[in-house]
C-alpha cells in the first residue's frame, strides 16, 4: 500500500485559504457605513427573498458574502446566540463584540478542523448613540476578527473598493441619502437589484420600537 503523500502544515493552510478566498472573491461586495441617521448596509442582490443582510438583535445587524447555505447557517446561529443571551441576562447585555467573537471562534475552528473551510466572510454591526461609537466587525473565513471605523467592505475586490469609498465619502457627518447614492455609484448597482437596510440610531423615538433594523426600498433613493 502506498503511504499518503506528505503535505506540510504550512502548505495545507495555504491551500485551504486559497480555496476559501476563491469562493469569496466571486461574491458581490457588501458595504456597511456609519451615517448620522444610523448604520447603512448595501449590496447587490437579484433576489427579493434570499437575503445577504439581516437583523440579528435590537441594535445589531449582519451581512455576508460567499456561499449562501454556509452563511445562512451562521446567521441562524447568530440569532440563536443573541436571543439566548438576551433572555438569560438582559437585552442590553447583548453586544456585537460577543457575537463577533462567537463567529471568529466558529470560523476559526472550521478552518482548522472542518472537512473544508467555510467560503464566507461575515460583517457584524452595532449602532450606538453617536456615529463615532458605532461598532463594525469583519470576520474572515479563517476566524480572523477585524474592527473597522465608519466603513466596512466585504467580498470581491474589497480593498480597492474600500479605498475608493474612503475617498468618495466624507469622513464624518455623513447623510444617509448622499451616502447611499455614493456607495451605489461606486458599486455600479442600478435598478431594484439592491438590498438596502439601516440600523436606526434611535428606533425608540422614531417608531417606538427596540428593534433598530429596517429594510429600505432602494427605489426611494
Amino acid at each position: 500500500m502506498q503511504p499518503p503523500m506528505y503535505v506540510s502544515p504550512q502548505q495545507q493552510m495555504e491551500d485551504r485559504a486559497d480555496f476559501a478566498r476563491a469562493g469569496i472573491r466571486r461574491g458581490q461586495p457588501v458595504v456597511f457605513a456609519s451615517t448620522t441617521q444610523g448604520i447603512v448596509s448595501l449590496t447587490h442582490n437579484a433576489s427579493q427573498s434570499l437575503f445577504k443582510l439581516s437583523e440579528i438583535y435590537d441594535r445589531i445587524s449582519w451581512g455576508a458574502v460567499g456561499r449562501y447555505n454556509e452563511f445562512e447557517a451562521l446567521r441562524q446561529a447568530g440569532i440563536r446566540y443573541t436571543d439566548t443571551r438576551g433572555y438569560a441576562y438582559e437585552r442590553s447585555d447583548v453586544t456585537a463584540r460577543g457575537l463577533a467573537n462567537m463567529y471568529a471562534r466558529t470560523l476559526g475552528e472550521l478552518f482548522i478542523s472542518g472537512t473544508k473551510p467555510f467560503e464566507v466572510e461575515i460583517a457584524v454591526a452595532e449602532v450606538a448613540a453617536a456615529p463615532e461609537d458605532d461598532r463594525l466587525y469583519q470576520i474572515t473565513f479563517d476566524g480572523t476578527l477585524l474592527e473597522h471605523h465608519g466603513l466596512l467592505v466585504l467580498g470581491g475586490n474589497a480593498q480597492d473598493l474600500h479605498h475608493q469609498l474612503q475617498e468618495a465619502l466624507p469622513p464624518t457627518a455623513r447623510e444617509l441619502d448622499a451616502t447611499v447614492s455614493i456607495i451605489r455609484e461606486q458599486l455600479g448597482t442600478t435598478g431594484s437589484h439592491v438590498e438596502l437596510a439601516i440600523l436606526d440610531r434611535d428606533p425608540q423615538a422614531l417608531r417606538g420600537s427596540h428593534r433598530a433594523f429596517r429594510r429600505l426600498d432602494p427605489q426611494t433613493f
Partner: protein, 246 residues
C-alpha cells in the same frame, strides 16, 4: 421546530426553562385582564394589583404586554410564571420572525402560546397556574381575533370580548353590556375601563384606577397599523370622564 426559540432552549439550555416547584408556597397572584373588540381592532386592559393571600404585594405591576408589532398578551395567575410566560412568548415570536424573515400568522402565534401554557401543566396540577389572554390583528386583512386558554393548553377563539383573572366574572357582564361592533377605540377603552372598575368593586384581587397615587390600568390598543400603548395621562382624563357612570 427549526425556528422555535422555546425548542432551542429546551434542547440547548434546559436550565433557562421555568422549573417545577414541589409544594405550593404562598405566591404572588394577579388580576383582571379584559380584551374587547372594536371596529378596527382590540383593546386590552389590565389592572396593576398583585396579591399574596389577602395581602396586597404590589400596586404597580404590569400584566399586559405587546407580544410583537401586531399582537398583545395579558396574563393572570401566579405572577412569576405569568410574567416569564409573556417574556418568553415575546422572544419566541421575534426569534421566529428573524429566522424566517416573516412574522407567524395570527393563528400560528396563538398556537405557539398554547404550547407554552401546555408546558406548565405540571405546575398547574399543583395549583401553581398562569393563563394568558391573547389578542392580535393580521396586518394584511386587518382581521382582529381574541383567544383565551385553559391550563391544559386548550386554545379558544372568542367572538367579541373576554376577561381572565379573579375579577373576570364581574368584568365580563360589563363588557357584554357595553360592546358594540361600531365602537371607536376611544369608546372601547372607556368600556374596558368601566369593566375593570366594576371588577375592582367586587373583587379584592383587582385594583381600580387610583387618581390619588396616579396609578392607572395598563391599556394597549392593537389595529392593522400595529400596537399602541395608551399614555397614562390619557387614561387619567378618561377616568375623570367616567365619574357617575358606575
Amino acid at each position: 421546530m427549526e425556528a422555535s426559540f422555546v425548542a432551542h432552549l429546551q434542547q440547548q439550555h434546559p436550565e433557562l426553562m421555568p422549573r417545577h416547584v414541589e409544594s405550593r408556597p404562598d405566591l404572588m397572584e394577579a388580576t383582571t385582564i379584559t380584551a374587547l373588540k372594536f371596529s378596527d381592532g382590540v383593546v386590552m386592559v389590565g389592572d396593576r394589583r398583585a396579591t399574596i393571600g389577602n395581602r396586597i404585594a404590589s400596586s404597580h405591576m404590569e400584566k399586559v404586554f405587546a407580544a410583537d408589532s401586531h399582537s398583545l398578551v395579558g396574563v393572570a395567575g401566579v405572577a412569576g410564571i405569568a410574567i416569564d410566560m409573556a417574556r418568553l412568548f415575546a422572544v419566541e415570536l421575534e426569534h421566529y420572525e428573524k429566522l424566517e424573515g416573516t412574522q407567524l400568522s395570527l393563528l400560528g402565534k396563538a398556537n405557539r402560546l398554547a404550547a407554552l401554557v401546555r408546558g406548565h401543566l405540571g405546575h398547574a396540577m399543583q395549583g401553581i397556574s398562569a393563563v394568558p389572554l391573547f389578542a392580535g390583528v393580521t396586518p394584511g386583512t386587518r382581521d382582529a381575533k381574541i383567544f383565551s386558554y385553559d391550563i391544559t393548553g386548550g386554545r379558544f377563539e372568542e367572538r367579541n370580548w373576554q376577561s381572565i383573572g379573579s375579577g373576570s366574572p364581574y368584568a365580563l357582564t360589563t363588557l357584554k353590556r357595553l360592546w358594540s361592533p361600531e365602537a371607536t377605540s376611544h369608546e372601547a377603552i372607556e368600556a374596558s375601563l368601566q369593566a375593570l372598575i366594576d371588577a375592582a368593586d367586587a373583587d379584592a384581587g383587582t385594583a381600580g384606577p387610583d387618581p390619588v397615587r396616579e396609578l392607572y390600568p395598563v391599556v394597549y390598543v392593537v389595529t392593522g397599523d400595529g400596537v399602541n400603548k395608551i399614555a397614562e395621562s390619557v387614561i387619567a382624563d378618561l377616568v375623570i370622564g367616567l365619574e357617575g357612570k358606575h
